[in-house]
C-alpha cells in the first residue's frame, strides 16, 4: 500500500527520494553519521557548515542547554555551537565517501565565509568534491567571530554580494539559509534572489536565552561563568519557522523553492511546512532528541496520509494551504459562534470554569454539587480557552450561531460612575493605515 504513493521531490533540479533532510548541525557532522541517517531513510543531508581552516574553530563547553516544559523534555534547545571544527580536508574526504557509497543521496554543502574570496574558495571546494548543492549559511546567531553568520543575514547588500560571487564560480544550485532574527524575511530573500540564489531555506536558530542560573546569575549554557544570547531551536520555534516559510511562499516576486526548518519532529510538522510552501524540510533538534529513527514515522505517516486522501505525488501538497492564508482583515466578522459542550463526557475537573472566569467571558457557572460547568451561551466569547484546558478530547467544540444571535456586552462594574468620566467621543476622520 505505502508504495503506491510517491514521496520523491525535485528541489532546484536535484532529485530527492523523500522531502526529509538532515539540516546542517551536529546531526550532519561526519560521514559515519550521515551514512547511518541515509540507512535510516533520510533522503539527503545539509552537511555541517564547512570552514576554510583560516581561523581555528573551537566549540564552547558546554555548548548547549535544554528547555523543558513541565516534565516534557526538550521543548527547545539552546546552543552556542560554532560551524564545523573539523578541517576542510577531512570534511571533503567525507563528501567523497558519501558520494561513493550513497550516490542517490544528494549532499548539500553548507558554507560560511567572511569575505568574498573565502566564500568563493569554499563553494568551489565543495562543488569539486561532489556536493550536489550549496547552502550559504547567512544565519548562525552566535559565531564567536564578529561579522559572521546572521550579521551577514541582516546586512542585505553583503548577502547579495556573497551570493552573487558564489553563483559566479559554481554550476550547482545555491540555497540561501536565512536568519529569523529580523522582521520580514522577504527583504533579505529578495536580495539573495538578486544575487542569484536558486532557493531559500529557513529558519536557522532564533536568538534567545534559555534560562538564567539562580545561584550564579549566569545565563545558560553556562560557559565557565559566562552566558550569551544564542540560538534557540526545537518545537518551540516551529510557529516562527512556519510564519517565514508561508510569507515567502506567498511572495510572487520571490517565487523560489523553499526548504522548511524549525521544530520538525513528526510527519504532521513536516507536512504543515509543505502545505505552507516548503518542498523539502530539514531537521536538527528532533534528531538531537530522538535520533535518526524518527524519519521512519515521517515516511510512513506521510505515505498513509496521502493514501487515505488519494494524493499520488507529494509535490501536489506543496503550498496547498496557501490559498486559505489571509490577512486578518479578510475575516467575515458577521459570522459568530460559541463553545459547545458534550456534557456526557465531562469528568468535572472545573478547569474550563477557572480559565473562563479569569481569562475570558465569565460565561460558565459552576455547579459545585454535580461538579459540572454550565455555559451561559450569550456570554461566551468563543476564545476556546476552555477547549484548550479540557482534558477530554472533543468534549468542547466551536459552533456557529444564527445571524440574529448577539453576544452580551461585558457588564460595567458600576455604571453610576459614568457621569464622572472625563471623555469626549473620537470623531476625526482618517485613513485605515498607519501614517504619522
Amino acid at each position: 500500500m505505502v508504495n503506491n504513493v510517491d514521496l520523491s521531490i525535485d528541489f532546484c533540479g536535484v532529485q530527492f527520494k523523500n522531502p526529509f533532510l538532515l539540516s546542517s548541525s551536529p546531526v550532519s557532522n561526519s560521514a559515519e553519521m550521515v551514512a547511518r541517517s541515509f540507512d535510516a531513510g533520510w533522503s539527503g543531508v545539509v552537511f555541517k557548515t564547512l570552514n576554510s581552516d583560516r581561523l581555528p574553530i573551537v566549540h564552547p563547553s558546554p555548548r548547549m542547554h535544554c528547555i523543558d516544559y513541565g516534565s516534557k523534555k526538550e521543548m527547545a534547545v539552546q546552543n552556542v555551537e560554532m560551524i564545523s571544527d573539523r578541517s576542510l580536508k577531512h570534511n571533503l574526504t567525507e563528501f567523497l565517501y558519501l558520494k561513493k557509497n550513497y550516490p542517490d543521496h544528494p549532499i548539500i554543502a553548507s558554507i560560511m565565509g567572511f569575505f568574498t574570496d573565502e566564500w568563493v574558495y569554499l563553494a568551489k571546494a565543495a562543488e569539486d568534491n561532489g556536493a550536489d548543492m550549496l547552502e550559504l549559511n547567512f544565519s548562525c546567531p552566535h559565531m564567536c567571530i564578529e561579522g559572521a553568520g546572521h550579521k551577514v543575514g541582516q546586512a542585505f547588500q553583503l548577502l547579495e554580494g556573497f551570493t552573487a560571487a558564489v553563483k559566479e564560480v559554481v554550476s550547482i544550485p545555491v540555497i540561501a539559509k536565512m536568519t529569523p532574527n529580523i522582521t520580514d524575511m522577504n527583504e533579505p530573500a529578495m536580495y539573495a534572489k538578486k544575487g542569484g540564489a536558486d532557493a531559500i531555506s529557513a529558519i536557522n536558530t532564533v536568538r534567545g536565552i534559555s534560562s538564567v542560573g539562580l545561584d550564579d546569575f549566569v545565563p545558560t549554557p553556562n560557559v565557565f561563568g559566562k552566558g550569551a544570547i544564542s540560538g534557540t531551536s526545537g518545537p518551540a520555534v516551529r510557529p516562527i519557522g512556519l510564519n517565514f516559510i508561508a510569507s515567502m511562499a506567498q511572495n510572487d516576486q520571490l517565487n523560489l523553492p523553499l526548504s522548511g526548518i524549525g521544530g520538525i519532529e513528526t510527519w504532521i510538522d513536516a507536512l504543515e511546512y509543505m502545505l505552507l510552501g516548503a518542498s523539502t524540510i530539514q531537521v536538527t533538534s528532533g534528531i538531537m532528541h530522538y535520533g535518526y529513527r524518527i524519519v521512519d514515522d515521517m515516511i510512513e505517516g506521510l505515505s498513509d496520509y496521502m493514501i487515505e486522501r488519494g494524493v499520488g505525488q507529494i509535490s501536489d501538497l506543496v503550498g496547498k494551504a496557501l490559498p486559505n492564508l489571509h490577512e486578518t482583515e479578510a475575516f467575515d466578522l458577521e459570522r459568530q459562534g460559541i463553545a459547545q459542550y458534550d456534557m456526557d463526557k465531562c469528568i468535572g475537573c472545573g478547569q474550563c470554569y477557572i480559565v473562563c472566569q479569569d481569562a475570558a467571558g465569565q460565561a460558565i457557572e459552576w455547579d459545585a454539587e454535580s461538579r459540572r460547568p454550565n455555559l451561559i451561551e450569550d456570554k461566551c466569547l468563543s476564545c476556546m480557552l476552555c477547549k484548550f484546558v479540557c482534558p477530554v478530547p472533543d468534549l468542547i467544540s466551536h459552533k456557529e450561531m444564527p445571524k440574529e444571535w448577539k453576544r452580551q456586552e461585558t457588564a460595567v462594574m458600576d455604571s453610576s460612575l459614568e457621569k464622572d468620566i472625563k471623555y469626549e467621543p473620537f470623531t476625526k476622520e482618517g485613513p485605515n493605515e498607519c501614517v504619522i
Binding site: K345, C346, C349, I354, R371, P391, V392
Partner: protein, 450 residues
C-alpha cells in the same frame, strides 16, 4: 541487602523528576475533590499545584502547616479511599484517554515533598513568642503529636507524657518497618521536636484520677490520646501458652530489642494469624518475610467481608499466605509445658445480616477440626485497657471504654479535658488522629481564652 535489612527499611519513594511528572498529570481542578477527600485537610490540590509551578518550598509548607505528620500520612494513608478516591484524573467518563485513567498518586507526592524537605533541610516554622499557658498531652501517637505541634507552633508550652520508652505510638510500636521505617519516623519526629515540645517518656499517666489530676498540677488543659493498646483475645486465660501472641506484642517486638528473638519464633514455623483487618495483614505479611514455613490467615467470614484494604489482601495472597476463610477459632491445643501445638477451629457459613451490615458467620455443628500451628497471633482488635476509665473517672466513656468526645472540638464531659484519636474513634487511621489533634488544639485555644 540481606532480607533482614529489607525487612527494616521501607521501599524508596518518588524522586524529584518522578514527582514532577506525576504533578504534571494533575488537572489542577477547581474546588478540587482530592482536597475534600483528605480527613486532615492536608490540601493536596494546593501542594500539587505548588509543585507544578516550581514552588517546592511552598508545597512543603502547605503540607507541614496543615499536617505535621504529612510524611507518615503520605506513606500510610489508604489513599484509594481518601484523597485519591474522587480524583478527577481517574476520568470517570466513557472516553477516558488511555493512561489518564488512574488517580494522581497523591500520597506518593506528599511523601516525596516531606522527604525532600529533609534532604534540603527546609525549616518551615519560626520560633514563636513563648506563651505562659501549659498544656499536657497524654500519648505521643499521631493524635498527641498533632495536637502538641499545633499548640507549640503558637508558643504554648506543651508537655507530652508517653508511657513507652520512645515517642510515636503505633508509628513506632505497631506498623511494620518495611512499611514505615525508623529512619523516616525519626526525621518526622525531628520536625515535631523542633517546635520546642517537651517529651516525657516512660511516664504513663495511669492509676486513679491520674489524667484529671494533671489539671490540678498546673496544666491549663489536657489532651488525651492514649490510643488502644490492649489486645482482644479468644482465650483470656491463655497468657502462659508458649507460642501464642497478641498482635500488639508481636508487632512491637519487631520494632524493638526483641526483634531477633521474635524472628527465631517465626522462622521455619507454621504460623496462624487470627483476624481480617489491616493489623492482621501486617502480621501475616511480616511472618512470611521472616521466613515462616506456612502462614495461615484465619477469618470467620469470607474474603470480600474482610475489613483490610483490597490491595493489602491481594499482596498477602500473592506472598503465599493461606487464607482459611469461614472458620471460627474455638481454642488452642497445647503439648507439654504449655507449648502451642494447634488451633481448634469450626467451620462457619454466612447467615443473616448483623449490626455491621455484614452477614453473620454461623458455626456449622460437627465441623470442628484442628490446624497444626507452632505460633498463633491474635489480631482480632485493639481495645482500651479495662482499667483506663479510672485514669479519668469523670470523663464519659461508652460500652467499649472509648472516650465520648465532641467530634467538632474534642471536648469531653470534663471542662479542660479533650480527647482524640483511636481512644475516641476506636481503631481508625493516622490521618484521622492528626485531624483530631488539630481540632482539639483549636478548641483548647478557644477554651484558654475564656
Amino acid at each position: 541487602m540481606s532480607h533482614l535489612d529489607k525487612f527494616k527499611e521501607m521501599r524508596k519513594g518518588l524522586d524529584l523528576v518522578q514527582a514532577i511528572a506525576e504533578a504534571d498529570r494533575c488537572l489542577l481542578c477547581h474546588d478540587a475533590p482530592c482536597s475534600r477527600g483528605c480527613p486532615a485537610d492536608t490540601k493536596p490540590a494546593e501542594f500539587i499545584r505548588k509543585l507544578r509551578f516550581k514552588n517546592i518550598t511552598g508545597a512543603i509548607r502547605t503540607i507541614k502547616e496543615n499536617n505535621i505528620l504529612g510524611g507518615a500520612c503520605g506513606v500510610l494513608c489508604p489513599t484509594s479511599r481518601l484523597c485519591e478516591e474522587k480524583c478527577s484524573a481517574m476520568f470517570k467518563s466513557q472516553n477516558r484517554p488511555a493512561g489518564a485513567d488512574r488517580p494522581i498518586q497523591i500520597g506518593e507526592i506528599q511523601r516525596f515533598l516531606v522527604e525532600h524537605s529533609w534532604q534540603r533541610s527546609v525549616r518551615i516554622f519560626e520560633k514563636p513568642e513563648p506563651r505562659s499557658e501549659k498544656i499536657a498531652v497524654v500519648g505521643s501517637g499521631p493524635g498527641g503529636l498533632s495536637c502538641a505541634a499545633e499548640l507549640a507552633k503558637e508558643g504554648y508550652q506543651v508537655t507530652i507524657f508517653e508511657g513507652r520508652p520512645q515517642p510515636g505510638g503505633v508509628l513506632r510500636y505497631g506498623v511494620v518497618s518495611y512499611r514505615f521505617d525508623m529512619n523516616f519516623l525519626e526525621h518526622e519526629l525531628e520536625d515535631v521536636k523542633a517546635l520546642g515540645i517537651k517529651f516525657q517518656c516512660n511516664s504513663p499517666i495511669e492509676g486513679k484520677n491520674a489524667a484529671e489530676k494533671l489539671l490540678q498540677d498546673g496544666f491549663d488543659a489536657v489532651f488525651l490520646a492514649p490510643g488502644l493498646w490492649d489486645a482482644a483475645t479468644i482465650k483470656p486465660d491463655g497468657k502462659n501458652i508458649q507460642g501464642l501472641f497478641s498482635s500488639v506484642d508481636y508487632l512491637s517486638a519487631l520494632r524493638d530489642g526483641r526483634f531477633e528473638k521474635m524472628e527465631k519464633n517465626i522462622k521455619g514455623k507454621a504460623v496462624a494469624v487470627i483476624g481480617g483487618g489491616s493489623v492482621a495483614m501486617d502480621c501475616i505479611e511480616s511472618a512470611v518475610r521472616l521466613g515462616a514455613k506456612d502462614v495461615y490467615l484465619i477469618y470467620r467470614r469470607s474474603y470480600s467481608q474482610m475489613p483490610a484494604e483490597p490491595d493489602e489482601r491481594i499482596e498477602a495472597l500473592e506472598a503465599g499466605v493461606h487464607f482459611v476463610l469461614l472458620n471460627q477459632p474455638l481454642d488452642y491445643v497445647t503439648a507439654k509445658k504449655d507449648r502451642l501445638k494447634g488451633l481448634k477451629l469450626v467451620r462457619t457459613r454466612l447467615g443473616a445480616l448483623d449490626a455491621s451490615g455484614r452477614r453473620r458467620p454461623e458455626e456449622i455443628a460437627g465441623s470442628e477440626w484442628t490446624l497444626d500451628a507452632d505460633v498463633v497471633i491474635e489480631a482480632i482488635g485493639n481495645k482500651a485497657p479495662d482499667e483506663s476509665p479510672e485514669w479519668y473517672p469523670k470523663v464519659d466513656v461508652d460500652g467499649n471504654k472509648l472516650i465520648k468526645a465532641d467530634p467538632e472540638t474534642g471536648r469531653t464531659s470534663v471542662p479542660g479535658l479533650f480527647a482524640g484519636g483511636d481512644i475516641v474513634r476506636g481503631p481508625a487511621l493516622v490521618v484521622q488522629a492528626v485531624q483530631d489533634g488539630k481540632v482539639a488544639a483549636r478548641a483548647i485555644k478557644e477554651y484558654l481564652k475564656q
